[in-house]
């Protein structure tokens, strides 16, 4: 089965760094940033390109800052 490729875009300015998405991610794609946003939180970001577009992170995000993308079917390798 071809692996599904995905990506997440996080509104880092509104992220509160609770870390629930990082815990929910099954492929360790997400991690805390080293930088902080203007509120002083270490926001969540993609640390490796392993996203499978499972949407787990967006489902548990209390601040709805995560947008999930999936590779179009005909473009998948």
């Amino acid at each position: 089965m071809a692996k599904v490729k995905g990506a997440v875009v996080i509104n880092t300015e509104n992220c509160k760094g609770c870390g629930l998405c990082i815990y929910a991610c099954p492929t360790d794609t997400l991690g805390f940033s080293k930088e902080i946003n203007s509120k002083g939180f270490n926001y969540s970001e993609m640390v490796q390109d392993e996203c499978i577009a499972c949407v787990s992170c967006a489902l548990v995000c209390p601040d709805a800052v995560i947008t999930v993308y999936r590779m179009k079917k005909d473009k998948a390798v």
């Binding site: 509104n14 629930l20 970001e45 640390v47 577009a53 787990s56 548990v60 995000c61 209390p62 947008t67």
Partner: protein, 257 residues
Amino acid sequence: MGITVSLENMDKIYERPKTLKDQVMHYCPGCGHGVAHRLVMEIVAELGIQEKTIGIAPVGCSVFAYYYMDIDMQEAAHGRACAVATGVKRMMPDHYVFTYQGDGDLAAIGTNETIHACNRGENITIVFVNNAVYGMTGGQMAPTTLIGQITTTCPSGREQVANGYPIRMSELVAQLPGTTYVERVAVNTPARVRKAKKALTKAFKSQELKKGTSFIEIVSNCPSNWKMTPVESNKWLDENMLPYYPLGLYKDEISGE
């Protein structure tokens, strides 16, 4: 810096619902209220009932729900959301009316209003967020606080002799003839969030049948007042809250119609 991935040839499969205003919520990091808000607003968007939905905001942490939900909303006095919802629904029976309440609002000061609204069988949806503590006022003991749980007003843990037992609202209202759909869900894992959304969708749709009250209890966390990190609080919820507040369907008189 994290990595950047090209979004070329990508389909957007999940985004923040348009019915949730583009505003940062005041909730603490990791609070389950955010997920509950988002689920309710996703359902409003998916059912296409934004113009026909009226929400009743409570008193408690979620008192500012009307800042975040892009629908018509009305603030109620402490605990009286179900009574206000009754009036709104009776004046506008073609609208979807829901109350969004916490445990201090619904199960403490508003028990009377809640039970009688359910017993009258008002055609409203009650969304009850149970986090076992009074959040906004600083973590005092709530009626739903577990035996042995430490709060600022029971610093050595809640004792049955002095404070009584935690109240199970879903079981309580499920035995009333006025309710038509009662389910307890949680929002601490992705799978449970999906289930919670299904339950809330059913609850909103049940208003079309005009058969009675739908009641959804969302077991949620309160990292700040439980004095834990968000991830720890979700684990604590699993280990301590769910054995006393078992998830599941308590009443369903609408399926198959």
